[in-house]
């Protein structure tokens, strides 16, 4: 429990723990860690409230029916619960947006944060779904399986991220 109350962990400890999660993923679910598929599952069920024909689209139907996508949807909800437990246990406070935005010279005005969040989220998932995976699926899991496509995907992510970040933010705070 002491470990849970600690304010910060080294990135190496965090990485080892996340890497070990591949054991139950492969042994019990027969899949690798991932996150972005859950957005298609969520989108499918939310949009089916307005568009009953969405299940006729093969892409959505697949993500709304296979067991492993329900497992992954539970995983991302668990991620939120874990972060909640973690920051409460170390006795810090919630805020509207992360204080770390000011370290890179970004505005902390709520309207700016909400707008940027929405646009960023849209771009994020369009990219992840085109590529067929995100920083978890292609990154951590794809590289751990020595996937050639995943290694190219990770290189492309860093290229896109480095160029965009240098256009939008300041290095010095």
């Amino acid at each position: 429990m002491d470990l849970l109350r600690q304010n910060v962990w080294s990135p190496y400890l965090a990485g080892i723990i996340i890497g070990l999660l591949q054991i139950p993923a492969f042994l019990l679910v027969d899949t690798a860690l991932g996150a972005s598929s859950s957005f298609v599952t969520g989108t499918g069920f939310i949009f089916s409230l307005f568009d009953s024909s969405i299940t006729e689209i093969k892409y959505f139907a697949k993500y709304m029916s296979k067991d492993k996508y329900f497992w992954q949807s539970a995983l991302v909800i668990g991620i939120a619960l874990g972060a909640l437990i973690s920051y409460k246990a170390s006795g810090r406070k919630a805020s509207f947006s992360s204080a770390s935005w000011k370290n890179i010279g970004a505005s902390s005005a709520p309207v700016a944060r909400l707008l940027q969040g929405f646009i960023g989220g849209f771009v994020l998932l369009v990219g992840a779904r085109i590529a067929g995976g995100c920083t978890s699926g292609h990154g951590i899991s794809g590289l751990a399986q020595l996937g050639v496509g995943s290694s190219v995907a990770v290189a492309a992510m860093f290229a896109g991220g480095i160029v965009t970040a240098n256009l939008l933010y300041k290095r010095a705070s």
Binding site: P11, L75, G78, S95, I140, A144, L146, V148, A156
Partner: protein, 200 residues
């Protein structure tokens, strides 16, 4: 496994995942974007440690015949264009599709808009998949891995060699820039909190 237990398993694994993302601060926008600006190396270190651990784990599981690999297809146009757009999205949102959920748990209200944007993005791709994939079509190399390129080496051997190489990279990174330098602020907060408690 029954759906009920798969959901319980997913929640449990997710909680562990979420604690690790929050404690390492990899879910903080300034940390993720800081890596792209090369002013904070936390994300790269966590990423390398998770990948190296995964390589060792999967080397063991496949050598013992306990698990099968599921590498993703190398659909050339989709991977290059999608990966680049995803990277741009990480820089704009200050989050990945997984870490945005840790931001929700951490209490950041703006992360809800990132999730709504993400749902719209997934819908945009889902409804226009055949059109987008058609435009980007440059062929596919299938589920190719580096182990396929070195047929004389079994996966576990190449996996362990790669993991060892990543450990060397991490040691070099840590010598160049200790992780506590990047987390300096948080360390101070921790120290002042405990010394206040001691005075009280």
């Amino acid at each position: 496994m029954e759906i009920f237990w798969l959901v319980i398993l997913g929640l449990t694994m997710g909680i562990i995942f979420g604690v690790a993302l929050e404690k390492s601060r990899v879910m903080e926008p300034g940390v993720l974007i800081g890596q792209f600006l090369f002013k904070d190396y936390t994300m790269l270190k966590m990423f390398l440690a998770a990948t190296a651990t995964g390589l060792v784990v999967l080397s063991g599981l496949t050598a013992l015949g306990l698990a099968e690999l599921h590498p993703k297809s190398f659909v050339v146009g989709n991977i290059i264009v999608g990966g680049t757009i995803l990277g741009a999205g990480i820089a704009i949102a200050g989050a990945c599709p997984g870490t945005v959920f840790a931001q929700i748990g951490r209490g950041y209200k703006d992360a809800w808009l990132t999730i709504i944007g993400g749902i719209m993005g997934a819908a945009f791709y889902g409804y226009n998949k055949s059109l987008i994939d058609g435009v980007l079509d440059m062929g596919s190399l299938g589920k190719i891995t580096y182990a396929d390129l070195f047929p004389s080496l079994p996966f576990w051997m190449l996996g362990l060699i790669t993991a060892a190489a990543l450990v060397v990279v991490m040691i070099a990174l840590e010598m160049y820039r200790p992780w506590k330098v990047d987390r300096g602020m948080d360390q101070n907060n921790d120290a002042s909190a405990s010394s206040n408690a001691a005075h009280a």
